[in-house]
Amino acid sequence: MKRYALLQTLVPVIRDSLVVCNIGIPSQELFAIEDRDNHFYMLGSMGLCTSIALGLSLNTTKNVVALEGDGSMLMNLGTLATIGNRGPNNLFPVIIDNGSYGSTGDQVSYTSAATSLAGIARAAGCERVIECHGEAAAGHLEGALNEDQSTLIIAKVESGNEPVPVVPLHPIVLRERFRACVSY
């Protein structure tokens, strides 16, 4: 299973959540599968997906799902410590771990070798951490959302991207339609 197939399984599970989606091909693939107002596509600032979701989750009662990547998570490991200490129960980071930098040419990332994001997250203080094959991720996420228990899911998938176009929406359009979902 690659990222695109994983996103296809996640889409039915995240329709009632606020979704912050990682920059680049992850956002493009999600947009191609299903575009919804509750999707905030990051068009820039690699590394900040989970931090944006954290700030959002601290200021809403709705469930917030971060669709994070392994390479972008490695850029900002400190935010796992903030989540481990201050993360609220409505925050659900899903790290799509394909062991590579998919948007930049599939260069391998360290999670394909010696580095365990699950181990880092647990050591950072995150209480509920699930590492699973991509096929099982949607079930784990649905269960966690139903239980209202913040859970960090690391979904292991193969490297590879679908040939999809860039997200054609203006950032202010994305901001406004997403804000409307937050306040709805």
Partner: protein, 168 residues
């Protein structure tokens, strides 16, 4: 802790409905951080790095909050991309309360280089800056919070070393 300037700054931000705060620490901001840690009327969570803090502020802004990050001017070097490609790109109002470590009074040599660059970097990025040299300058903070909302973008409140080091 008396810290009248720190109390005035936090009080002004709260009066202007800034409700989400994060910080990366600085000795000159310590009194404000101590006030925020005890304040039950606002949400305050420390960040591990300035760009993480900006991400958190952006998320809070998507929830409709006006936010503030407390940081040193040296941290500006860490967040150029986050400012340009996130905060400015999505036009999010964020108040950046910045201790001006690289200004006269600073004892640490390594703070000087970013101090020299900070005003020019902010100008280059077209980020409005209120440079507070003395107590009366703090009275302008409220209008800069308003301006962040009007302009829909970041504003910087730059606090001189001498001003804040005397605020005990």
């Amino acid at each position: 802790m008396n810290a009248p300037f720190s109390r005035q700054i936090i009080g002004t931000l709260k009066e202007k409905q800034v409700t989400f705060f994060t910080s990366v620490p600085c000795k000159l901001l310590a009194n404000m951080i101590a006030l925020l840690e005890q304040d039950t009327e606002v949400t305050y969570h420390p960040a591990t790095r300035e760009d993480e803090g900006l991400g958190m502020c952006a998320g809070a802004s998507l929830a409709g909050k006006t936010t503030c990050i407390l940081m040193q001017d040296s941290g500006l070097g860490t967040i150029i991309n986050a400012l340009a490609a996130l905060v400015q790109f999505y036009q999010l109002p964020i108040v950046m309360l910045m201790s001006y470590r690289g200004s006269p009074g600073e004892p640490v040599p390594a703070q000087a280089p970013m101090g020299m660059l900070t005003p020019e970097l902010l100008k280059l990025m077209q980020i409005p800056m209120l440079h507070c040299h003395e107590a009366k300058d703090l009275d302008e903070i409220a209008s800069y919070v308003d301006f962040a909302r009007v302009k829909q973008g970041p504003v910087v409140i730059l606090l001189d070393f001498h001003l804040m080091s005397g605020d005990q």
